[in-house]
C-alpha cells in the first residue's frame, strides 16, 4: 500500500546550529493512527511543522499523498489538517466565523451544513456565536480541531491534542479520533499521555534527539519489548535464591520473590515446580506486564 506520508533523509538545522531532525526516514500508511512519542525537545513538533510547511527543512524529501511538499505544496497541503500544540485562536472572532475562515483559506467553498455537522460532532453547536476568548481551554481545543477538520483533510496532525484537557473531554477526543479513523482519515498524534498512544495508536514511532529510534506496530512493540514479572509473596522470608533458580533473573525483596520472566530459560510451570520441590510456601502469585510507558522510559534512558 502506498504511504500517505513518505519522508526520506529529512534534516533540519536551525540558524543557531541546533540540529532538530537528523536523517529522518518515515512512512505513514493511509488510514492508520500513528503516534509519535518522544521526550520534550526530541523533535516531534519540528517534524510535524516540516510536513505542514511551517518550517523549512534543511534537506530531505517529504511526500504527502504522493505530492512533494515543496514542488507540489498546494496539492500536498490540501490533504493536511493541523491542530497545533499551542492554543492559538482569534480571540475576538466567533466560533462559526473562525471555522468558516479555515475552510475558506484552504480553498473550499462555503458549506454551512458541513460546518454545522462538525460543530455538532464536537459539541460546539450551541457555542457557534460565542466569541473565542470567552471559551474555556477545552472548548478552544475543540474549536481548533473543528478548524482543522473544516476542509476535510485526509491526514490530521494532532500535536498534544489532550494537553491540559479534563478527563471527560479527553475521552471524548479519543472517541472522535476513532470516528475519524473509521472515516479513513490518517491521524498522526503526538502526546505526553503514553496511555493515550497505547489505547489508540496502530503504530508507534519513538523519536529522541531528532532521530527516529524505532517505528513498529504497537502490538509488536508490546510483545517485543514488554517484560513480564512474576511476583510471588512468600509465607516465610528466604535468605537466598534457591540454587535451581540462580541462573534466572530472580530477586528477593523481603517476603517477595520477583522473577523477570524469560520463557526460554524457565517457563511458569517449571518455576512453580521448583518452589514446590524446595518446600517454599506461597501465599500469592501475581504477574505484571510492562506498559507502553515503561517501554518508553526504557527507550528514552538508553
Amino acid at each position: 500500500m502506498e504511504s500517505i506520508i513518505s519522508i526520506s533523509k529529512l534534516n533540519k538545522t536551525f540558524k543557531g546550529g541546533f540540529q532538530a531532525l537528523k536523517n529522518i526516514n518515515l512512512e505513514v500508511k493511509p488510514g492508520e493512527i500513528f503516534a509519535l512519542l518522544g521526550p520534550n525537545g526530541a523533535g516531534k513538533t519540528t517534524l510535524i511543522k516540516s510536513i505542514c510547511g511551517l518550517t523549512m527543512p534543511t534537506e530531505g524529501k517529504i511526500l504527502v499523498g504522493g505530492y512533494d511538499i515543496v514542488e507540489d505544496y498546494k496539492k500536498a497541503r490540501r490533504l493536511v489538517g493541523l491542530v497545533p500544540q499551542e492554543l492559538t485562536t482569534d480571540a475576538f472572532e466567533t466560533v462559526w466565523n473562525t471555522v468558516c475562515f479555515s475552510r475558506g483559506v484552504f480553498g473550499k467553498k462555503k458549506d454551512s451544513q458541513f460546518i454545522e455537522k462538525i460543530l455538532k460532532d464536537l459539541s460546539l453547536w450551541d457555542k457557534k456565536s460565542n466569541i473565542l476568548r470567552t471559551l474555556s481551554g477545552g472548548m478552544k481545543r475543540r474549536v481548533m480541531i473543528a478548524k482543522a477538520l473544516s476542509h476535510e483533510p485526509k491526514v490530521l496532525f494532532l500535536d498534544e491534542p489532550t494537553a491540559g484537557v479534563d478527563v471527560e473531554l479527553r475521552k471524548g477526543m479519543w472517541d472522535l479520533v476513532s470516528e475519524l479513523k473509521a472515516l479513513g482519515v490518517t491521524i498522526i498524534l503526538t502526546t505526553h499521555y503514553i496511555e493515550e498512544a497505547e489505547l489508540m495508536a496502530d503504530r508507534i514511532g519513538f523519536i529522541k534527539n531528532g532521530e527516529i529510534i524505532m517505528v513498529e506496530d504497537k502490538d509488536k512493540i508490546m510483545k517485543k519489548m514488554s517484560q513480564k514479572t512474576i511476583e510471588v509473596t512468600l509465607s516465610d522470608k528466604l535468605d537466598n535464591v534457591p540454587t535451581e533458580l540462580k541462573h534466572l533473573d530472580v530477586r528477593l525483596f523481603g517476603d517477595k520473590m520477583n522473577y523477570l520472566y524469560d520463557e526460554s530459560k524457565m517457563n511458569m510451570q517449571s518455576f512453580l515446580n521448583v518452589l514446590v520441590q524446595k518446600n517454599i510456601n506461597v501465599q500469592d502469585i501475581q504477574t505484571k506486564e510492562s506498559s507502553l510507558e515503561d517501554i518508553f522510559v526504557q527507550l528514552v534512558k538508553k
Partner: protein, 253 residues
C-alpha cells in the same frame, strides 16, 4: 489564483475593520476634520491662496494622502502582525496558498480600508471647503496605487516587527515625519531653495504632488515623475515581500 482563499482572508480582515470601526474609520476621519477646522478655517483664513487655490482647499489632497498613507501602513502591519503575535498565522502558512495569494488577501483588505477612509475624508472635506477634482480617474488611480503600495510596505513592517513597539517604530519615527514634510500643508515651492532640494529626497512629496495635480492641475513635480517614484516604491516592496516568502524570513524558521 485561489480566489476562494484570497476572499476568505480579505473578508476576515474586513470584518476586523467593521468590528473596530471607531479605530479604523471614525478616529482618522475625526482627526482630519480637526485639521480642517484648525488649518483650513482658523489658520487657513489668514493665509493667502497657494498656487491660486484657497488654503483650505489646497490642503485637502495632502490630508487625504496623509491619512491613506499612515492608515495603509498601520492596517496592513497590524493585520499580519496580530496573527503572528497570537500564533494563528500557522493556519495561513500551512494552507495551500502561494505567497502572492497571502499578500493579495492581506494587502487588498488593508488598501480597501484606506481607500474607503480616503473617500470618506474627501466627502467630509466638502462640508468645510470647496473641492474640485480635475482628473477623477487619476485621482482614483493615485489613491489606489498609494494605498496598495503602502499597504505592502506595512505588510513588510508587520512581518519584520517582533513587538508592538517595533510595529510602531517605522510609522512613527520615519513615515509620519516624511508625510508631514511631504507638502501636505504647503507647496514645496514655498520653501527656501536648499529645502526644496532636500524635499525632493522625500518620496511622499511625489505622492502628494501627483495627487494634488489630479484635484487642481497644480503639481510641485512632474506627474510622470510622481508615477515613476510610486511605481519604484511598489516594485521594491513587491521584491522584498517575495524575498520574505522565499526565505521564510521571520515566518518560517
Amino acid at each position: 489564483m485561489n480566489m476562494t482563499a484570497i476572499g476568505a482572508i480579505y473578508k476576515f480582515e474586513m470584518a476586523r475593520a467593521w468590528r473596530t470601526l471607531a479605530q479604523t474609520i471614525a478616529a482618522p476621519v475625526i482627526s482630519t476634520c480637526l485639521y480642517f477646522v484648525v488649518f483650513g478655517s482658523a489658520i487657513g483664513s489668514r493665509i493667502d491662496e497657494v498656487d491660486g487655490i484657497s488654503y483650505g482647499s489646497f490642503i485637502v489632497p495632502g490630508l487625504i494622502m496623509l491619512s491613506v498613507l499612515t492608515q495603509s501602513i498601520s492596517n496592513s502591519a497590524f493585520g499580519i502582525y496580530f496573527p503572528k503575535f497570537t500564533g494563528t498565522i500557522y493556519e495561513v502558512l500551512s494552507a495551500p496558498l502561494s505567497f502572492l495569494e497571502i499578500v493579495v488577501g492581506y494587502v487588498c483588505a488593508a488598501a480597501s480600508k484606506s481607500i474607503i477612509l480616503g473617500l470618506l475624508i474627501l466627502g467630509t472635506a466638502h462640508f468645510f471647503v470647496d473641492v474640485t477634482i480635475s482628473h477623477p480617474f487619476w485621482m482614483l488611480f493615485f489613491l489606489v496605487l498609494t494605498a496598495l503600495t503602502f499597504s505592502l510596505f506595512g505588510f513588510l513592517i508587520g512581518i519584520w516587527a517582533e513587538s508592538f513597539e517595533e510595529l510602531q517604530r517605522i510609522p512613527l519615527l520615519i513615515v509620519t515625519p516624511l508625510a508631514f514634510l511631504g507638502g501636505s500643508f504647503y507647496s514645496i515651492s514655498m520653501l527656501p531653495p536648499i529645502w526644496q532640494k532636500i524635499s525632493m529626497l522625500n518620496p511622499v512629496v511625489y505622492l502628494i504632488s501627483g495627487f494634488r495635480w489630479s484635484f487642481y492641475n497644480q503639481a510641485d513635480v512632474k506627474v510622470s515623475t510622481s508615477l515613476i517614484i510610486i511605481g519604484c516604491i511598489l516594485a521594491i516592496c513587491i521584491y522584498l515581500t517575495y524575498l520574505v516568502f522565499k526565505t521564510g524570513y521571520k515566518l518560517k524558521p
